[in-house]
C-alpha cells in the first residue's frame, strides 16, 4: 500500500550537511519528533562513513532503547549504537554513538575545567546553592546542551556532533543561553558581591545589600551565606565561563555549524517554527533547512463518477469507509495549506516532508528508513 509513502515528496535533502558539517543542532517545538530526527541524521552520517555522536535530551523510552541508552538515567558518556545495517562491517568506517545530556554533570565538568585546583572546584561543587541550581538555573539546561556540544567538538574525536535541543516553548533560549550567562555575570549585584572578595558585612553597594536583605527576608539567613559563598567561589571561574560563552557563541555562527528546524503541520507548531527561523536568520546562525514531520497521508481522490455512485448509501461499514476517506482528505489538504506557509518561508533552504507513519519509529530499522528520506534516498 502506498498510503504512508505518498505524503512524502521531499523537496530537499540534508545530504551535504550530514557529509560535511561538523555540528548540527536540531531545534523546534515539543512533540514534533525532534530527537528522532536528530538520531536519524546521525544514522545517515554514520552510513556515509563518518564518526558521529548524537547528544539527546530526554528521549522517549522506545527511542532511547533503540539507541542503547538507559532512559530515565542520564548517561553522560557516549555509548556506541549497534545493529546499524551497512556500518557494522570491518571495512566500514562510519560509527554512531549517542549520549543523554546530564545538565548537572556537564556543569560539574565545566567547574573542574575552569578552576585552578581541586579545592577551588570542591568549594563550588559542595555549595548547597550550587547543588540546587546547577540543574535548574534558568537556561542552565539549554546552556549545558551547548557546552556539551563544545566539549565534544573540541575533543577532536568526532567527525560530526549532533545536538538535540531541550524542549522549549521559547526554543530561542538555547541560542541566547551563552549571552544570558554573560549577562548574569555582568549584573551589578553579582559584581559587587564578588569583586574584591569582601566580607558580607562590608558590602556597601546599595543594590547588593538590598539584594542580600531581600533574600534574607524571603528565605532566611542560611541561604544568604550560601548564596554569597556561591557567588564568591563562582568568581574564580568567571573569566573561564565568560571566555567559553564567547567561544560557543562564535562556534555556533561559524561554517562548521548548521541548524535544522523540526516542525509538524499543526498551526501552533508552525507558528513556533516560523518564529525560530526568524531568530536564526536575525542572529546570523547558519540555517540548513526544515523538516516537517508527522504529515497525514493524502488518500487517492474518488472520481466524480464513483462519488455520485456512493452519494445515497445508508449507514453501514461502507459509510464508515467513505466518511473516513473524506475526513482524512480534509485533514491532509488543510495540513498542506499550513505547511505551505513554512515552505515559502524556507524557500532558499532544504525542506523535507515526512509522513505520519502508521507505526512510530522505535528501532534502528525505523531510524534507517527515516535517514534515507532525510538525505533524499527515498
Amino acid at each position: 500500500m502506498t498510503t504512508t509513502e505518498n505524503a512524502s515528496a521531499p523537496t530537499g535533502s540534508f545530504v551535504s550537511e550530514v557529509s560535511s558539517a561538523s555540528l548540527i543542532v536540531t531545534c523546534g517545538p515539543g512533540g514534533v519528533g525532534k530527537t528522532t530526527t536528530a538520531a536519524a541524521l546521525g544514522v545517515a552520517a554514520a552510513r556515509a562513513g563518518r564518526r558521529v555522536v548524537v547528544v539527546t535530551v530526554d528521549p522517549a523510552r522506545r527511542l532511547a532503547d533503540a539507541l542503547g541508552l538507559d532512559a530515565g538515567a542520564a548517561s553522560d558518556a557516549p555509548h556506541r549504537v549497534t545493529g546499524l545495517p551497512g556500518i557494522d562491517t570491518d571495512e566500514a568506517t562510519g560509527e554512531l554513538w549517542a549520549l543523554m545530556l546530564d545538565a548537572a554533570s556537564t556543569f560539574d565538568r565545566l567547574v573542574h575545567e575552569q578552576t585552578a585546583n581541586a579545592k577551588q572546584a570542591e568549594a563550588i561543587l559542595e555549595n548547597p546553592v550550587y547543588r540546587a541550581i546547577s540543574g535548574s538555573l534558568s537556561g542552565a539546561q539549554e546552556y549545558m546542551a551547548i557546552e556539551r556540544l563544545h566539549q565534544l567538538y573540541t575533543s577532536g574525536e568526532w567527525d560530526l556532533v549532533i545536538v538535540d535541543t531541550p524542549p522549549s516553548r521559547h526554543a530561542i533560549d538555547l541560542l541566547e543561553a551563552p549571552d544570558r550567562l554573560i549577562g548574569f555575570l555582568s549584573h551589578p549585584v553579582y559584581r559587587t558581591l564578588t569583586v574584591g572578595q569582601r566580607a558580607f558585612a562590608k558590602v556597601t553597594n546599595a543594590a547588593a545589600s538590598m539584594f542580600l536583605w531581600a533574600v534574607r527576608r524571603l528565605a532566611g539567613p542560611q541561604i544568604v551565606e550560601d548564596t554569597v559563598e556561591f557567588f564568591r567561589s563562582l568568581a574564580n571561574i568567571e573569566p573561564g565561563l565568560r571566555k567559553r560563552a564567547g567561544e560557543v557563541s562564535v562556534l555556533l555562527r561559524s561554517d562548521a555549524a548548521t541548524f535544522v528546524v523540526v516542525s509538524s503541520p499543526r498551526a501552533e507548531a508552525i507558528g513556533e517554527a516560523e518564529h525560530l527561523i526568524g531568530a536564526l536568520r536575525d542572529g546570523d546562525f547558519p540555517f540548513a533547512g526544515v523538516v516537517i514531520n508527522l504529515i497525514h497521508p493524502m488518500p487517492d481522490p474518488l472520481t466524480p463518477v464513483d462519488r455520485a455512485a456512493l452519494a445515497d448509501i445508508g449507514d453501514g461499514p461502507l459509510a464508515d469507509h467513505l466518511s473516513w476517506h473524506d475526513e482524512l482528505t480534509d485533514l491532509a489538504v488543510s495540513e498542506r495549506e499550513e505547511l505551505a506557509v513554512l515552505a515559502d518561508l524556507a524557500e532558499d533552504v532544504s525542506v523535507v516532508e515526512l509522513p505520519l507513519l502508521a507505526v512510530d519509529v522505535h528501532d534502528v530499522a525505523g531510524l534507517v528508513g527515516l535517514a534515507d528520506q532525510l538525505v533524499g534516498g527515498n
Binding site: V129, A214, L331
Partner: protein
C-alpha cells in the same frame, strides 16, 4: 448534561491541566473552561506561561495579567482569563506580606532573576502562591491552570516541596508549606493529565501520573485522551467486503481510493485501542476521550465540540479494556 460529568468537572476548586509538549493540553484546558462555564460556573482560566492565542480561542482578547471576561454563556456561567507573570506574582506576594516599599525596592534593585537564581524554584512557587491566594479568596468557582508544557510541569508542581530542602526558614518556606497543603487537598486542587492515544505520550502520561500522585501528592482527575480517531467499525472490513454487506457494487477505482485511506485508518485505530487499554489498566483511572478534529487550526467552534465531548459519561478502565 449527565450528573457524573458535572460531578467531575466541578469536583475541585483549582484544576491544573498538564501534559507533555504537543498533546494539546492548553486546548483541553480551554475546552474544560468552556464546558464548566456552560454548566453555570464562573471560571477563571490562568495561563502560566502566557502562550499566545488562548484568549482569542476562548472568544476574548489576548490574555494579560489583568483578569478579564472572555466569554459569557447566556443563562449559565462565564469564562475569565489572565496570566500570572512571575514578577507580578512577586510584587503581589510582597504586598500581601505587608513588606513595604523598602523590600520592594530591594527586589527591583536586585531584579527577580537574581533572587530567583539564588532561590531555585522560587518563580514557580510565587506563581503557585498567587493561585493559592486566588483560591483562598474564592476568586472564581473554578480556577483552571494551563500549566507549563513539556518537561516543566512536574518541576512547576514540585517547586513547593523542592524549595523546603534549600530554604529552612522565612516567608518563602511558609509560602511553600501553604502551597503544598493546597496541592495535597483534593477538595481544593487536582490535576488533569492530558495525553494522546499513542505509545510515547501514553508512557509519559503514566510517568507523570505516578510522579504527581507520589511526590507531589496531587489527586488526579479523569485522564483526558486528546485527538482520538473517531471509531469507525466498518474499517475493519475491506472496502469490497463493506460494499457487499451494504449491497452496493464498487468500481475498481472506488475500491482503490477507499483502500488508500482505510489501511492507514485501521492501523491507527488498532494502535489507539491498544494504548487506551494500556493507560487504563496501568493507572486504573477513569478516562475521557476527545475526538481528533479534522483541522490543524482550531476555532471557537472546535472548542465547543471538545467541550461537549468532555461532558459525557466517563470511560471506566475495565469497561474500556473489554471492548
Amino acid at each position: 448534561m449527565t450528573d457524573p460529568a458535572e460531578h467531575w468537572l466541578r469536583s475541585t476548586r483549582v484544576a491544573v491541566v498538564v501534559g507533555k509538549g504537543g498533546v494539546g493540553s492548553s486546548t483541553v484546558a480551554a475546552a474544560y473552561a468552556l464546558a464548566a462555564a456552560r454548566e453555570g460556573a464562573d471560571v477563571l482560566f490562568v495561563a502560566v506561561d502566557g502562550r499566545p492565542g488562548m484568549g482569542p480561542l476562548l472568544g476574548g482578547r489576548e490574555l494579560d495579567q489583568n483578569d478579564r471576561i472572555l466569554r459569557r454563556i447566556k443563562g449559565a456561567g462565564q469564562v475569565r482569563g489572565r496570566t500570572i507573570p512571575a514578577d507580578q506574582a512577586f510584587g503581589d506576594y510582597l504586598e500581601l506580606r505587608g513588606v513595604g516599599g523598602m523590600l520592594r525596592r530591594a527586589a527591583s534593585a536586585a531584579s527577580l532573576p537574581m533572587i530567583a537564581a539564588a532561590t531555585p524554584g522560587l518563580e514557580h512557587l510565587l506563581v503557585l502562591g498567587k493561585i493559592k491566594e486566588l483560591e483562598r479568596d474564592r476568586a472564581a468557582d473554578l480556577i483552571i491552570v494551563d500549566a507549563p508544557p513539556a518537561g516543566h510541569a512536574a518541576p512547576f508542581l514540585r517547586s513547593a516541596s523542592g524549595l523546603s530542602d534549600v530554604v529552612q526558614s522565612g516567608p518563602v518556606r511558609d509560602q511553600a508549606v501553604e502551597v503544598d497543603a493546597m496541592l495535597r487537598d483534593p477538595a481544593r486542587c487536582q490535576a488533569m493529565i492530558v495525553t494522546l492515544p499513542e505509545e510515547t505520550p501514553v508512557t509519559e502520561a503514566i510517568e507523570l501520573a505516578n510522579e504527581l500522585r507520589g511526590d507531589v501528592g496531587l489527586a488526579l482527575m479523569p485522564l483526558v485522551i486528546n485527538a482520538c480517531w473517531p471509531e469507525r467499525p466498518g474499517l475493519s472490513k475491506t472496502p469490497a467486503m463493506a460494499a457487499r454487506s451494504q449491497k452496493v457494487t464498487l468500481s475498481a477505482s472506488a475500491k482503490a481510493s477507499l483502500a488508500s485511506s482505510s489501511v492507514f485508518g485501521r492501523k491507527r485505530l488498532e494502535r489507539q485501542h491498544q494504548q487506551i487499554d494500556r493507560l487504563g489498566s496501568t493507572l486504573g483511572l477513569p478516562m475521557v476521550t476527545l475526538p481528533r478534529l479534522p483541522t490543524p487550526r482550531l476555532t471557537l467552534h472546535h472548542l465547543g465540540v471538545l467541550a461537549d465531548a468532555l461532558v459525557v459519561p466517563l470511560v471506566e478502565p475495565n469497561a474500556e479494556a473489554s471492548t
